[in-house]
Symmetry: C2
Subunit: 620 residues, 2 copies
Amino acid sequence: MICQDQPAPSMVFDVVIVGAGPAGLMAAVWMAQLNIKTLVIEMKSCRTLTGHADGLESRTLEILDSFGLAGIIWKESNRTMEVCLWHHDSRGDLCRDSVSPNCNPGLSRFQEVTLGQGRIEERLLEFIDKSPNVQIKWKTSPQELLIHQDLVDLHREHAVELRLDTDSVVRTKYLIGCDGAHSWVRKQLGLSLEGKSAGNGDWGVLDCIPTTDFPDIRKRCIIKSQAGNVMIIPREDNLVRFYVQLPARCATRFRRDRRPSVLLSILGDALKPYYLVTSHVEWCTIYTVGQRLCRDFSVQDRVFLSGDAVHTHSPKAGQGMNVSMQDTYNLGWKLASVLRGVATSAILRTYQEERLPVAERLIRFDRRMCLGICSGSDHASADRENLADFRDETTGLEETLSEENTTASGLSVTYPPNLLVTATRIPPSQPDKHGVLYCSTPHLAKNIVIGRRLPDVLVLCQSNSQPWYLQERLPSTGQWHLLVFGGDISKASQLQRVEALARQLTRPNSILAPLCMPGATTTVGSVAVYLIHSASRFDVQLMNLPPIFRPYDDRRGREYRRVFADNEGFAPGCGMAYSLYGIAPEGCVVLLRPDQHCSLVVPLEDADTLERFFSLFVPV
Amino acid sequence: MICQDQPAPSMVFDVVIVGAGPAGLMAAVWMAQLNIKTLVIEMKSCRTLTGHADGLESRTLEILDSFGLAGIIWKESNRTMEVCLWHHDSRGDLCRDSVSPNCNPGLSRFQEVTLGQGRIEERLLEFIDKSPNVQIKWKTSPQELLIHQDLVDLHREHAVELRLDTDSVVRTKYLIGCDGAHSWVRKQLGLSLEGKSAGNGDWGVLDCIPTTDFPDIRKRCIIKSQAGNVMIIPREDNLVRFYVQLPARCATRFRRDRRPSVLLSILGDALKPYYLVTSHVEWCTIYTVGQRLCRDFSVQDRVFLSGDAVHTHSPKAGQGMNVSMQDTYNLGWKLASVLRGVATSAILRTYQEERLPVAERLIRFDRRMCLGICSGSDHASADRENLADFRDETTGLEETLSEENTTASGLSVTYPPNLLVTATRIPPSQPDKHGVLYCSTPHLAKNIVIGRRLPDVLVLCQSNSQPWYLQERLPSTGQWHLLVFGGDISKASQLQRVEALARQLTRPNSILAPLCMPGATTTVGSVAVYLIHSASRFDVQLMNLPPIFRPYDDRRGREYRRVFADNEGFAPGCGMAYSLYGIAPEGCVVLLRPDQHCSLVVPLEDADTLERFFSLFVPV
């Protein structure tokens, strides 16, 4: 079918992204990485320079690292090791109630850090700038959005039309609205945020370099004080972010003149008897706590919303930027897979299926966090009494903080069964009406959760014994990752099972064979096959293994980093993969999506199920 | 005194560096870092593109990291974990004799890696390019060198004159000849390399991407074969470097036509029954083994020689680039200190005193290495018999390789007592006629070797509990580092000793007080003071400690990273500093030079000795 009003080719894109904040730039990073013709438009004239978000969770750093972007961000950022709870007692003394870890050792090779949003955007922009396929237009706003209904089901067509304030018109296959809480895109779609936009009080935010004798100024602190509750977030270099609860009259005054002295005065009182002054205020603002959610993340699988456009909440848990970037990290490879013709457009509905529950959870979590911090001013236990009507939502503040470092840090986000995430095999191995394939055998890998990002382990490369975090070998290239846990392949019987699997994966006329071939024409949607065995690496010869585990390419030579041994050596923590993953000696096959989330776990013999899984969304 | 023939100001430099290889660029990195007006001239038109050196030892990576340069080099490089010895037996089978570690876990946070010299130069050039004070002139050769003898003792004068092939004349205070084995600078000074320039045979060098079934192609290998001995060095990406011993007729042929097929043919024979082919040869050359040394590293403390200009040897141990960069790393801060007026020119003689013994050791080591590798072709034990006349120099090849990973890796280079390295206190605490101060009390820190780089340990930052490798907090800024090991300062008596020391360091009219002041006008030559205590960090309040440990600066705020606790937490290996360094409970003071080498160890009470140490070279 031919679209009659085809605009000039230069104004036709595969993807248009509205908004160049963290969500929009993460989407653009995917498109740059996968060579998708993309336009980013942003109202502002340049990236964020000061202020705004500043918290990066470990999962976000893992994601950035999968594009090679974590190194410098990790180095520039501030690592927050501990969180301290303080309160002003009735005699006016400031007392430290507790010091607890603010990180999650063992869960990730990264941990929570803080760094100004602008410096993160800068790194993402540097990455995007290297791609000839992604262009950014600053100082550009959309004026009109039109979805051509006659084309909307034909995913090869540029069904979405956008008129810009420059009076030019662009056509695109997909549009992503990453334009913040007041999202223009969302409004055009007739959608709105549900929930209260206020109700938990006003908070001032202040970024400055303080001079103080408060002993925990370089730790994350929550201070309950009659003068106003305060949160302290140490930042990169010597910056500190303060959240200051504002009495109504101060909020009114501050809204009017935006003078940091208002915040500094309350802060000074809250920290007494310690002193705090500053000669350098970098940024300040005010916000009103509210948790709001849009329940529609996409419209007709053509227009998608992400980040603040679909969920707004307080900044207290440092979650916003993370969930926003993780939204588009979830979406990017799916769009690219459809655009490259390696997946049907049916996979696009998983965006809403997967990210809406995450947003709902975030909203609930933030409400608990706010109640814990905003409540009263004297002592946590008293607060909880006062909040009896919210009791179901008020676990203690300390538990909430601890949850932030584990489940809320993005590491345990678990996508529900859908077209791209199988369910546990209880009914026979068949898809249900939603396309969910019931096939996984989770007892084969007890600690790998279907739908969740694969936990990281250290393994030794068979070819050169170098220790690698397995995740470092699973970059975001749009490829799927098929991990064959072959067990002790120094035993002939086990090696034969692995060899039989390799034959199955490459048998003619299968869907998998071309996907697993090293010379696949496009990386996006292909399958990289890895072998992680538990034999001594000295009892295994790489060149005796099936060729699928040592792919060869005329230009770059052999890929030597697809076979790993779960052996001790050269780094503490090596040799624990099978036990950490809970993998039985008979081994198993684990399929990871391009975003490192687990799709299925099946026995080594079950290539048929793999085949069936892909057949549900790979065009024939 | 006024210099009469003062040339135009634009052609006057503090430092001129001849040669932009690794040695020259490391010197330029120092000058860029310390804002010294510098000219680098290089005959070639650009940096190295392919081939040449490729081995980086852990100490070199530590040095690069002290300028913030290790991260990307570490990431791009190939880590060589294991070294394998093979030989062709009498039946023509290729047998693996041994696999041993090729790294030194625990000795450094880095390990040996390989990366093409050009990519290392590229990173150094990027660093230098950011400085407005250092300029590089490519395609420029020196024509004439003149040391103005009437000015040579006046270190404020530009006593060195250099005429360039562009017919311009430059004047400089100091000249560094980093112009390689055929050094023009060395020849101008009438100096030569001593030693044999040949004698151990000819070797071909080949960088290529091989296709092979040889199982250890991604490990470092030494293969003894009748066809010719071979060394395999895996490199970045999929490159491999081969060293191939050439029979005389092949050497002649290869010298004539430089066709890699000559090398590939020998290589193919040496690896039989395994196959090896390549479709991509990146670089090849031939060299003749010889060990040569120039015993004069400087002339009149105005002209300095470094790198291949003073020591040439085989590339077999991957040492050359390391020792060359370490030469100028030793020299750079000394020149800058004299130029900034914070040290007398007397310190410049320590360059020769410190680096000549390193070069001598390198030459001896390389000779052992060559004998081990070049000898015979059948079997190591037989070779050693044949080399009876060299017996004193032929420890086994395996021991030599192991030595490379420990002592030869630069980590254990120990500078002898001199003006900047004290000797152990046996005579009274007085300098001898060479300016050596006998004052150190090494039993206070049993495992810190005077004259050697400080071993690295993990410590927790007092202000925020972040684990740091101590070395990461000792960057190359031209500053000295005074480490106060205060012991358990939660005990009043121990805290009082630390407070008394702080008073001594800041008493009026001392040499140390202005050096230790945070507002010192120049970083170069000043002293950063650190406290590493063994109390629980929860029993210590940063703000209760003497101000010298928490310096304040109006612009950047407080320096929170000068006090560390030797406590467990957040990373394996924390809490071991006192025991690893062998520091007694009473603590001690350790002074490190700007290059992290230890100058002295004295008791907490002995600020007088510190004062005396600096008084020997700090101008009053």
